[in-house]
């Protein structure tokens, strides 16, 4: 089963999404900020990262950039999660190295279809 790293600082939202995705059969690992995320991604080698963009310590864009700069984690696809998807946000996400984006509040089915699309594309 695919392993998903969820980077989210809001406890309630993080816990909720973990439960809902775990229920759909994903293997969930979490990080609560950017620094944390870099370490977890290196150690756990997830199949995909769901990255909240407004993070404390190291924000989502910077974290994504560092993930993509590191040989060990560069191959892992990243889906950006933003509260209000203005075009500049979206473009900033792509510029930082994100592979896709989705807007909050999460529609679980749409998010799952995006996760699956990315995992299948890479595994092919």
């Amino acid at each position: 089963m695919a392993k998903v790293l969820l980077v989210e600082d809001n406890d309630v939202n993080r816990e909720m999404l973990v439960r809902r995705l775990a229920k759909r059969g994903f293997d969930m690992v979490v990080a609560i900020d950017g620094e944390d995320a870099l370490g977890v991604a290196r150690n756990e080698q997830p199949d995909i990262v769901l990255m909240d963009m407004s993070l404390p310590v190291l924000d989502g864009w910077e974290t994504t950039r560092q993930l993509k700069d590191n040989r060990e984690t560069a191959h892992i696809p990243v889906i950006a999660l933003t509260a209000h998807a203005m075009i500049e946000d979206r473009n900033r996400c792509y510029a930082a190295g994100c592979d896709d984006y989705d807007t909050k509040p999460i529609e679980i089915d749409r998010l799952i279809s995006k996760i699956q699309t990315l995992i299948h594309r890479l595994s092919r």
């Binding site: 809001n10 909720m16 809902r20 229920k23 203005m86 075009i87 909050k104």
Partner: protein
């Protein structure tokens, strides 16, 4: 002025000069006449004297006792002549002759007294004397212009007086006396000589009669002393006849002859006495007329001159008035144009004050502004302009209302203050260097009034006494009013911009607050909706129908609330003017796919058919991707919401206009439709077509307002066309490519979480 008066003056001077010359001419005649009057008397007396002398001497009685009376008479006439001589000798040039006459008189008397001369010799001496008098009469006639008299009547009268009568008298006396004495020239035949004399006398008398005749013909109304003329002519004629009838030897001591000669002489002197006053009268009448003419000419001239001067003065005053008016208007005009351009009072005053001072001749001009500070009045100098800048005058210190200054006085009395006293107010004028005020003793301060409130003071100082006319004041007060209006306008505009600043700060704060709030709302809503969905799924798994329904309601309500938060955020941004399009080029089909994916379930929920028609020419658009998507989703979900078992269509087509190409997105439905009345309120914030629709169909009531605002932001329009119970068509019309794309200003989002 001189152009008019100079020719007039010359003309009048000429006229007066001519009249004066004629008067002088006549005066000369009159003096001559007067002089001759005396000579005539001398002639009369000396003729008698000669005849008496001869009688006395021939009788051997050489005592002169009987002659004394005549001598006295002659000498008294001499005294009269002497007076005239002294006065008129220069004009009449009588002196040489007069001296000779006097000398001859003295010599003759001496000769008579010495008694050593024969009667004939004495007679001859006295005849020489008489000849001299007759000559003098003619001479005076020449020198006194009498012989040149221009009028015919007086000319003939005068001719009679100065030549004909004296000649006739002389001849009459000669003819009478010659036979008595034996002193007729030896060479001549005495009889022939007498005949010659008598024919000359006849001629003289004839010409006198002729002259009278001529005057009578020319001047029938002339007052001629006819009887005197007739007597003279007749008596003399008879005398000549008597002589011609008598042989020479019988003439001596002939009584008839003696008598006749005396008649004739008397008549001649009478004629003289009759004509002379007549001429005098005529001449003085002529002088009177000339004097009257002269004074009327002078009066006329003064009248014309007066009129010319009056007109000149009137014109000058009028011109001065127009010039003053023009100066005032031009000053006001320039002030107005400066004030119209001015951004600040300082800038305007820098230009207005020099202009005023130069136009109205002030050495120093100042503008003071009145500002209330903490209940106290501060009067501060905005501008001090000096014709010749003097650094020693320095800065003007601020004043208060009770300071003894002309500026403060104009402020507190609310009226213009003139000051011309030199030293008294020196202390009142507060420059840092007080001594300078010796130089500018004259001052004027005017309050600048706005609605009875003094908002400034204009002050002017001068070295010389300035123009203190009402016009000066009127002009300055008018300029003052203009400045007052400007100051007031500045104040109001400052207040407005302050108020605007406050409002903008408040508005920004509101927008910020709303943005923050919506983010803060959204985070817990995420959890509510997320957990709601999760529990809903789980309760479905457990087939707990009651719980599933309830949880489904929580999720729906949560989503509605979320939508509401987002719409409120959009509206607040639109109202604050912060909503700007993010323009980019994108593929329309791809966008439509996303739109349809979102809205198809909603449309189909009410058992509606959905048709998408896209013109194949429609490919890309340069617009705001997200906003367009939001508009279309809103319109399609509305269509789906208000249509049941009908048809919802989305048509996309290209419209090529004259200058611009548009893309039309047309959302058609066959739903309940909207009435014309409802359409009016359709795009207003928080308004749905009907209040009940909110309850029946849900929705925030903000969607259409937001959609329309978005269309406008992107340079397009959103229009609606509807028939109740038939359906509604919403048309979004956006430029394919904005003609003048404004640079995109991304809205800084507060929230990225």
């Amino acid at each position: 002025m001189a152009i008019f008066t100079l020719p007039l003056g010359i003309l009048v001077r000429q006229l007066v000069f001519e009249i004066d010359q004629r008067i002088e001419f006549i005066e000369k005649e009159r003096r001559g006449l007067h002089y001759n009057r005396l000579l005539r008397n001398v002639l009369e007396k000396s003729l008698a004297y000669r005849s008496q002398t001869h009688e006395v001497v021939t009788k051997g009685d050489r005592s002169i006792a009987s002659l004394v009376d005549l001598e006295t008479q002659i000498e008294s006439i001499f005294q009269g002549i002497e007076i005239n001589e002294r006065r008129d000798s220069k004009i009449l040039k009588t002196t040489p002759n007069w001296s000779r006459i006097q000398a001859t008189w003295r010599f003759n008397r001496k000769a008579l007294l010495q008694n050593n001369l024969s009667p004939e010799e004495l007679y001859c001496l006295q005849s020489g004397f008489i000849t001299d008098i007759v000559k003098q009469i003619t001479h005076v006639g020449d020198t006194s212009n009498m012989i040149l008299d221009p009028d015919l009547d007086t000319y003939y009268f005068l001719d009679t007086l100065i030549t004909k009568l004296p000649t006739a008298t002389f001849l009459t006396a000669e003819i009478r006396d010659l036979p008595k004495v034996n002193c007729i020239s030896q060479e001549r035949d005495p009889e022939q000589h007498l005949f010659l004399l008598s024919s000359r006398l006849d001629q003289s008398i004839l010409s006198i009669a002729h002259a009278r005749q001529t005057i009578l013909e020319q001047y029938p109304e002339a007052n001629i002393p006819t009887s005197s003329y007739v007597t003279t002519v007749q008596s003399t004629h008879r005398f000549v006849q008597v002589i011609e009838q008598l042989p020479l030897d019988r003439q001596v001591n002939n009584l008839d002859l003696q008598k006749q000669s005396q008649y004739s002489l008397d008549a001649q002197f009478m004629l003289y006495d009759a004509v002379e006053p007549l001429v005098q009268e005529k001449l003085s009448l002529r002088v009177e007329q000339l004097k009257a003419r002269k004074s009327s000419a002078v009066i006329f001239t003064f009248l014309v001159l007066f009129i010319i001067i009056s007109i000149y003065i009137a014109l000058t005053l009028n011109w001065l008035y127009i010039r003053l008016l023009d100066r005032r208007l031009s000053l006001q005009y320039r002030t107005a144009s400066v004030l119209a351009e001015a951004q600040s009072l300082e800038w305007a005053i820098d230009r207005i004050l020099p202009n005023i001072c130069q136009q109205l001749q002030w050495d120093i001009g100042e503008l003071w502004q009145v500002t209330p500070i903490n209940g106290e009045i501060k009067i501060s100098c905005v501008k001090n302009w000096q014709r010749s800048p003097n650094p020693r005058l320095g800065q003007r210190a601020d004043l208060s209302a009770d300071k003894p200054s002309i500026v403060s006085r104009a402020f507190s009395q609310k009226q213009p203050i003139w000051r011309s006293e030199v030293m008294q107010y020196r202390n009142a004028l507060i420059y840092t260097s007080r001594t300078e005020f010796h130089e500018f003793p004259h001052a004027l301060a005017l309050p600048i009034l706005h609605e009875e409130e003094v908002i400034g003071v204009m002050a002017f100082f001068n070295r010389e006494l300035p123009d203190q006319s009402d016009e000066q004041l009127t002009t300055l007060l008018a300029v003052g009013r203009q400045i007052a209006q400007f100051i007031q306008r500045q104040r109001i505009s400052q207040e407005l911009s302050d108020a605007k600043e406050v409002a903008e700060v408040a508005s920004r704060a509101k927008s910020q607050f709303l943005a923050n709030m919506s983010h803060e709302f959204r985070t817990p809503l995420n959890a509510i909706i997320g957990y709601g969905e999760m529990l809903h799924e789980e309760s479905e798994d457990f087939e707990n129908t009651v719980l599933t329904d309830d949880l489904s309601k929580i999720v729906t309500a949560g989503r509605h609330l979320l939508k509401l938060v987002e719409d409120v955020l959009d509206i607040s941004k639109i109202e604050a003017g912060h909503m700007r399009p993010y323009l980019e080029e994108f593929n329309i089909s791809l966008m439509l796919e996303e739109v349809v994916a979102t809205t198809r379930p909603l449309i189909q929920k009410n058992k509606n058919a959905f048709v998408l028609k896209c013109d194949p020419e429609v490919i890309n658009i340069y617009s705001d991707f997200l906003k367009l998507k939001q508009i279309l989703i809103n319109l399609l979900s509305n269509a789906g919401k208000f249509t049941h078992g009908g048809l919802v269509q989305l048509e996309v087509m290209r419209e090529i206009g004259a200058n611009q190409t548009f893309i039309l997105f047309r959302v058609k439905d066959s739903g309940i439709g909207i009435s014309a009345e409802q359409i009016q309120k359709l795009f207003r914030v928080f308004t749905q077509a009907d209040d009940s629709t909110t309850r029946k169909y849900g929705g925030t009531g903000l969607g259409l307002a937001i959609s329309q605002a978005f269309c406008q932001i992107m340079g397009g329009t959103l229009t609606v066309d509807s028939v109740v119970d038939q359906g509604t068509v919403f048309t979004v019309r956006l430029p394919e490519r904005p003609t003048n794309p404004s640079p995109t200003m991304p809205i800084s989002e507060v929230n990225h979480g």
